[in-house]
Amino acid sequence: MEMIKKGAEADLYLADFSSVLHAGKSGKVVLKLRVPKRYRIREIDSWLRKQRTSLEAKLMIDAKKAGVPTPTVLEVRPDDASIVMSFCEGKQLKKVLDKLPAKKRRQICRKIGRYIARLHLSGIVHGDLTTSNIILERNGRLVLIDFGLGDYDSSVEARGVDLHLLRRALESVHFRIADEAYRLVVREYRRTFGKGAAEIIRRAEEISKRGRYVAREERAWR
């Protein structure tokens, strides 16, 4: 197994299907493992890791049901705080968005807006929407990954934070195209979400002005 990401809460490994799932199939899978924290007592630590593992898997499955591509959950082991999921072969949107032809880029932005709206309409917030957490597969499919900070939350505030975080990510990493990109995301979001979208978009503006969320320099930290 090869570690592909070490974060504050969980580690990610790339592994062979057969070695993790003891099945005859071949191919790559991702193992997400929530690591124990020695600063908190065992009772809290194991309960939290277990509960968050279940929640994350459930969010991914529900997102998929809502029409938002996510890695396929292959197995959940709450007691080990681990999730085995399919490996999405492609590139982080962060690394390619600026280089894409304008037409393709605009199409992707609209798709992101549609996906966020679909998540929100089914009561889900992603909680960490950045272009590092969106994978562009070779066949053009967009996949949303890392629901580790996600939740079932239908409040205007939580939805506003989702839009706000995406905007921050666009502004800090893709500043050349950020304005247009966010405009397209929001326009499509409004179209798909329907009634109530205006309030959420306004809230996202307000959150940006509060100035409490830092422009994220994209890092694999979680």
């Binding site: 504050a8 600063y39 908190r40 007592i41 809290i44 939580a158 509060r210 100035g211 890092r219 930290w221």
Partner: protein, 326 residues
Amino acid sequence: MICLGIEGTAHTFGVGIADHRGRILANRWKTYVPESGGIHPREAAQFHAEHAGDVIQEAIEKAGISPSEIDLIAFSQGPGLGPVLRTAATAARVLSAWLNVPIVGVNHCVAHVEIGRLTGKVKDPVTIYVSGGNTQIIAFNSGRYRVFGETLDIPLGNCLDVFARKIGLPHPGGPKVEELAERGRKYLRLPYAVKGMDMSFSGLLSEALKLVKRGETPEDVAYSLQETAFAAVVEVAERALAHTEKSEVLLTGGVAANRRLREMLRSMAEDHGARFTVPPDEFCQDNGAMIAWTGLLAYRSGWRQKLEETQVRQRWRTDEVEITWR
């Protein structure tokens, strides 16, 4: 350059004197203790007004200076309780007019971070500021102290104080809860609330009180309350540390005195190869020295205030302040 700083945002009326090299010449205070219940803003303000003169005089004597050597007056302009803030501001305006020296209003939360950096000897920490009035995880980024996470409802210190009071412990409740918790053995499940980067303690408090009513021992409940609340604070601090990639962790505010919280933060910091510091107690609690020192930093980096700009700001946010000295 010598600055006299006046702190008055909640219980404590504090006066500190510092010079521009970071020497603290005096740090005196007087603390209002309510006869029953929580803080009554007007009573606190009255208490501060009654003792202001004495505390100022004490500080000047302790510093061994004459009033004419004071070059600058600083005061806590916010955030805090309105009547209390206005009392401190009035004292500051009077002193500034009498001595004919400039006045600067500083942000109370920023002052906690600055005195922590000075006396805790750290340069650029992730700060965990936990007190009866505030709960914030703060880190410096492009010109401001950014709030990475904060409480969505009541502050951590308030959660502990109210718990203590409701189960019949005398003020100040924090240290009493800590003593109880040390004797607790059984962990009782309490709601754990980290939402994104924010924390919530009010649900935790009411559940803990219910457990006591239901007959669980105060020791076990205090233990469970501390473990649950602190785990949330440390988790948010850890996220901020990993995100900002800073290498220092600073704990300050009244709750910084808690040994268990220190222990948890130290072990988290160690796991990330970061240095952990807590300033001496007198600079963790609300104090005048932090106001004096931050006033100096602000003034020397160009801050100037007209008298009419010294109105108090009850809800002045940490991240609204432009940090011109970093």
